[in-house]
């Protein structure tokens, strides 16, 4: 990365980018449901959640632990899940990562993927439970393909996150 002299405005823009880019990209992940396709099955991975996990695992110091509340609220408003579902589940996921971080001495790519996979499965199951509470009667088999796709797509999301992080800190 080339170092160059920046003006005040550029510096301010860079600092602002450093703060809000993770939030914006997570919101954008939640907005993936806006794709113009009327799905017959829940197949789309929860990109908002995957972005959240990827950012959290990449940069533990980036966010306070309550960041799941506003981001989850937005995801609830977009995703069609009952409001409060992602607020609760995302926050619990972040708390779980905190606990894992205290236990693990170190983690790298494979541990990150394992953590993300476990949390994604738990989150989708929780989402199914909350959706069923609000009137659905979905069976667990229904979200199996979505679980699989989400787990397999996580490394790509993490990679995108890392690229964005390089740009964020440049």
């Amino acid at each position: 990365m080339t170092q160059r002299i920046r003006s005040e405005a550029e510096l301010r823009a860079a600092r602002l980018r450093g703060q809000i880019l993770p939030v914006l990209t997570t919101l954008a992940g939640s907005c993936m449901v806006l794709i113009p396709h009327v799905a017959t099955m829940p197949m789309l991975p929860p990109f908002g959640f995957l972005m959240l996990i990827a950012w959290r695992l990449l940069r533990p110091e980036l966010w306070p632990v309550w960041i799941g509340l506003p981001l989850g609220l937005f995801d609830d408003l977009m995703s069609g899940q009952p409001i409060g579902s992602a607020m609760m589940l995302w926050t619990l996921a972040l708390l779980a990562i905190d606990v894992i971080d205290q236990r693990l001495v170190w983690r790298d790519y494979w541990q990150d993927w394992l953590i993300a996979a476990g949390l994604t499965i738990a989150m989708l199951l929780g989402g199914l439970v909350t959706a069923n509470m609000a009137g659905g009667e979905g069976h667990i088999v229904l979200i199996m393909p979505q679980m699989l796709i989400s787990i397999l797509i996580y490394p790509a999301v993490a990679r995108v996150c890392a690229l964005l992080d390089r740009w964020r800190l440049s």
Partner: protein, 292 residues
């Protein structure tokens, strides 16, 4: 790499309190989420208003994207037609044979339809369409099946109105914004449609399975009353959906239940037609029907 232990606040009191506060906020927030879930279960109206407003705001994105997809999608399809044209040809030929047989059945059902229509004309007029609009997006990541309709209260859409496509029933409106509305698809696990079998009027209910199919249960005793290929139309029972809208065709049967494929594919339907509620919940008593 070892994770940076940045959550350790060190000796700074301020940092320690800040960290503690963030955990307290997170836990309280999680509880708040649970509370919101409970309230959305008890009283969904308030939540729907917020969500409908946001859907209104984000709908231009889906609208532009879906217009773009419609524009380019046909071009891509034209190219992909040429891939494995041979096997496709054979498949199409087989399908044509089936279709020819189906056509005869369709003629019969057409006659049946006309007969039913004559019968039903006694009770109801032809339902006028409130508005026709496109379905622009859906809840692809949730286990519930909602779609967003590109028309709202400004076009006269009301909560509870049935939505159909050219081929059959799509669902009903559950949430109305100014320019968008949320449609609960018939394939949603929380949606049940009273239907009758075309031909003999066998009553049944069609409940969504959430994976794009419906479970159809006959409301009669006795096994194996349903057959593969049976076509089901709405019965009008319950007063939400008008009668005689095609719903599903049975594809597999087991016992007194069958798995049905919806006749209208919301992903393909060019337009969805919103119709008035067939029989609005009686605020005023309906005029007494003279017994003959």
């Amino acid at each position: 790499m070892a994770p940076p232990k940045n959550r350790r606040a060190g000796f700074s009191r301020r940092a320690q309190y800040g960290l503690f506060a963030s955990y307290v906020i997170a836990l309280l927030g999680a509880l708040l989420g649970l509370l919101l879930l409970a309230t959305s279960f008890v009283d969904p109206a308030g939540h729907n208003a917020i969500r409908a407003a946001l859907t209104d705001l984000t709908s231009p994105i889906s609208r532009v994207l879906s217009a773009a997809v419609r524009g380019t999608g046909s071009g891509g399809a034209a190219v992909s037609e040429y891939f494995d044209a041979g096997s496709k040809n054979a498949a199409l030929r087989a399908e044509l044979d089936v279709a020819r047989r189906r056509l005869v059945a369709a003629r019969a059902t057409e006659y049946e339809n006309a007969r039913l229509r004559r019968l039903l004309k006694i009770q109801e007029g032809d339902p006028a369409t409130v508005v026709s609009a496109r379905l622009i997006s859906s809840t692809a990541s949730s286990s519930r099946r909602f779609a967003i309709l590109d028309a709202g209260a400004a076009s006269g859409v009301l909560d509870g109105q049935p939505v159909r496509g050219p081929d059959g029933l799509i669902g009903r409106v559950v949430e109305v914004g100014q320019i968008t509305a949320r449609v609960l698809l018939i394939t949603d696990t929380g949606n049940v449609v009273p239907v009758i079998r075309l031909g003999d009027g066998l009553p049944a209910i069609a409940a969504g399975k959430g994976d794009g199919t419906l479970e159809i249960r006959a409301l009669t005793s006795g096994n194996n009353v349903l057959r593969r290929g049976d076509i089901f139309i709405t019965s009008g029972t319950g007063g939400v959906y008008p009668p005689k809208i095609p719903v599903a065709v049975a594809i597999t049967t087991s016992g007194d239940a069958a798995v049905g494929k919806p006749l209208a594919d919301p992903a393909r339907a060019d337009y969805a037609l919103v119709q008035p509620i067939f029989q609005p919940l009686a605020a005023i008593a309906p005029p007494p029907v003279a017994a003959e």
